[in-house]
């Protein structure tokens, strides 16, 4: 965990760890794991809200809890940039991490795999592998997506690849 800012570190220690090693094909054990995922997400979302650092919404898109959709946003120069957020729980979960997708940014940055999957190889995958099965969706958002947004959104904005929605509306009207 060297190299991580103290804020992320202290947040991370407050997200409940998970204990059940189960994937979507594991029946009752998956239901147990899903409960733990919810508890961690509830704790993390609550914590973000109370720290005035609310930055995502996520909920299961199917009853099995294998597909998740929502939104995430990042404030840059006092402007809020919001993106759709989605991912599937892979069959080999939690041995492999979910591949977080921001489909609206597909093709706009090279730090992304096809289909809008953000690149987690260097900063996140080794951590996930080391902490399997204790890390869950909440940890993936905290350690995978949050630092990616912090690194990429300013570059995307400054290079003009993405525009704030108010600017976009103005330019399309004119």
């Amino acid at each position: 965990m060297e190299g991580w800012d103290p804020n992320t570190k202290s947040t991370l220690t407050q997200i409940p760890l998970l204990t059940t090693k189960a994937g979507p094909r594991d029946g009752a054990a998956w239901t147990q794991r899903l409960k733990e995922e919810y508890k961690a997400l509830i704790a993390y979302t609550g914590m973000n809200k109370s720290n005035d650092n609310d930055w995502f919404r996520i909920s299961a898109a199917n009853p099995e809890g294998t597909r998740w959709t929502g939104k995430c946003w990042y404030i840059h120069n006092l402007l809020k940039y919001e993106f759709d957020l989605q991912f599937d729980i892979p069959v080999t979960y939690p041995s492999t991490a979910p591949e977080i997708e921001l489909p609206q940014l597909d093709g706009k940055t090279h730090k992304m795999y096809r289909g809008g999957k953000i690149c987690l190889t260097v900063h996140f995958k080794p951590l996930w592998a080391k902490n399997c099965p204790r890390f869950g969706i909440a940890h993936a958002l905290c350690l995978g997506l949050a630092p990616w947004l912090a690194a990429e959104v300013p570059i995307l904005v400054d290079s003009g690849m993405i525009k704030h929605k108010d600017d976009a509306a103005v330019s399309s009207e004119s």
Partner: protein, 427 residues
């Protein structure tokens, strides 16, 4: 066009006869030749050969299998035609998978199952196989188009899906279990699975499927910097599975810390990909047609032209439950394997009935090479041969989890939890 060219030939012929001056004969003959070659070109551009019922060893230009069947005459392969009975599944039809598919198609493999969810892009043109006019097609469709043209004898099945999703995995498993091509007592309807994917997640999925089906597979990979690669044979229960140890990569020979890793646009070379596809299919042919030595692991470092090999025993503490089951089965089957080996040995010794050395004054004994080797395998936890490194750390085992109090006391109903998160999401 054919008709016009033929008419032209006839015209040349009559011109040749009509002209009294023999000095023009040569140039007319030249023109005739050119027209003939144009005719054959025009024919070959849309001629698709018909299916061949039996592989013939006859050495004529029109036999697509003469050079392959010659492997028998050379004493390399005992029965080449068996290749038509085999089914090979290729997962990932990219730089390595597509070339492997073409090689197997040209070898006359019985059946190929192709899996990929991607489409062909112009950015793929630095690699082999796909052509610019196929841009926009799914890789599976484009591959079927080319492969069925090259060899119509091969049965091609294509699956455009992502095997890492729950639904994709189900279809993947079902297709591997299908035994309609050739009935077998085995769990699976394919003889070998080749993993030619470009990411850890998909490899773990292939590993999962093959462990569950007790299906032998081969893994292949090319590094992001395009200067190293590897192939690996995985026999569930007998050899290390992909989850037994963190994945191995061939060190590029450059200090990793000096490498800039900006962005994820991986580099790729047609050469490295072609070499790895070649190594993979070579190992496949040796495995299926039973010749030579099948490599358990073969690395390729392009910068130093270094090819490390190694063998890995399965990890008795593997995190994959299906792997542990296969390991148990393998240990239980040991007596049967030993009896088999003994029977073979007895057969071999029957051939050389008299002892080679009647007396043994110095008590010299011969130790079986393979036995020494077996005890020498570095287990997955042991030190790796030079030039190989682990790609990811292994999971750290904590003795006990410090369980936060609110976790154990809070509600434990999935619906309640879902509602609770929804409530948080709502404002």
């Amino acid at each position: 066009m054919d008709v016009e060219l033929k008419e032209m030939l006839d015209d040349f012929e009559s011109l040749k006869r009509a002209l009294p001056d023999p000095s023009h004969q040569d140039s007319i003959i030249k023109l005739q030749r050119r027209a003939e070659s144009l005719i054959s070109l025009a024919q070959s551009s849309h001629a698709r050969r018909s299916k061949v019922k039996d592989m013939s060893a006859e050495v004529i230009d029109s036999n697509p299998y003469s050079r392959l069947m010659a492997l028998q005459r050379m004493g390399i392969v005992e029965n080449y035609e068996r290749i038509r009975e085999f089914s090979v599944a290729i997962v990932g039809i990219g730089g390595v998978g597509s070339v492997a598919a073409e090689m197997l198609t040209r070898c006359g493999i019985g059946r190929l199952l192709l899996y990929d969810y991607d489409t062909v892009e112009l950015a793929n043109m630095n690699r082999l196989f796909f052509r610019p006019e196929q841009v926009g097609m799914t890789k599976t469709d484009a591959a079927v188009q080319t492969l069925s043209d090259i060899n119509p004898d091969v049965v091609l099945e294509s699956y455009t899906l992502n095997i890492t999703t729950v639904k994709g995995f189900e279809t993947f498993m079902e297709s591997l279990r299908n035994k309609s091509f050739r009935p077998s007592t085995h769990n699976s309807g394919v003889d070998l699975v080749l993993s030619c994917v470009d990411n850890y997640e998909a490899r773990m999925v292939v590993n999962q499927a093959c462990n569950e089906l007790s299906q032998t597979w081969m893994e292949s990979g090319v590094s992001e910097d395009a200067v190293s690669g590897h192939i690996q044979l995985l026999i569930p229960g007998e050899a290390a599975c992909f989850a037994c140890a963190p994945p191995l990569v061939v060190a590029s020979g450059v200090d990793e810390r000096t490498l800039k890793r900006e962005g994820v646009c991986a580099a790729s070379l047609p050469t490295t990909m072609g070499v790895v596809a070649g190594l993979l299919v070579q190992n496949t042919l040796k495995f299926l047609l039973k010749f030579g030595q099948v490599s358990p692991y073969l690395g390729y470092n392009a910068l130093k032209d270094y090819f490390p090999t190694m063998q890995m025993k399965p990890n008795p503490q593997c995190s994959n439950a299906a792997c542990l089951e296969r390991q148990k089965e393998y240990i239980l089957a040991k007596p049967a394997r030993d009896a088999d080996a003994k029977a073979k040995e007895a057969e071999a010794s029957n051939l050389t009935e008299c002892p080679i050395h009647a007396d043994n004054e110095w008590n010299i004994s011969v130790i079986d090479d393979s036995e020494i080797e077996r005890t020498d395998f570095p287990s997955s936890s042991d030190a790796l041969p030079e030039g190989l490194v682990h790609e990811l750390p292994s999971a750290v085992e904590f003795q006990k989890f410090p369980e936060p109090e609110e976790m154990s006391t809070s509600i434990d109903d999935l619906e309640d939890l879902r509602r609770q998160l929804d409530a948080l999401n709502a404002n």
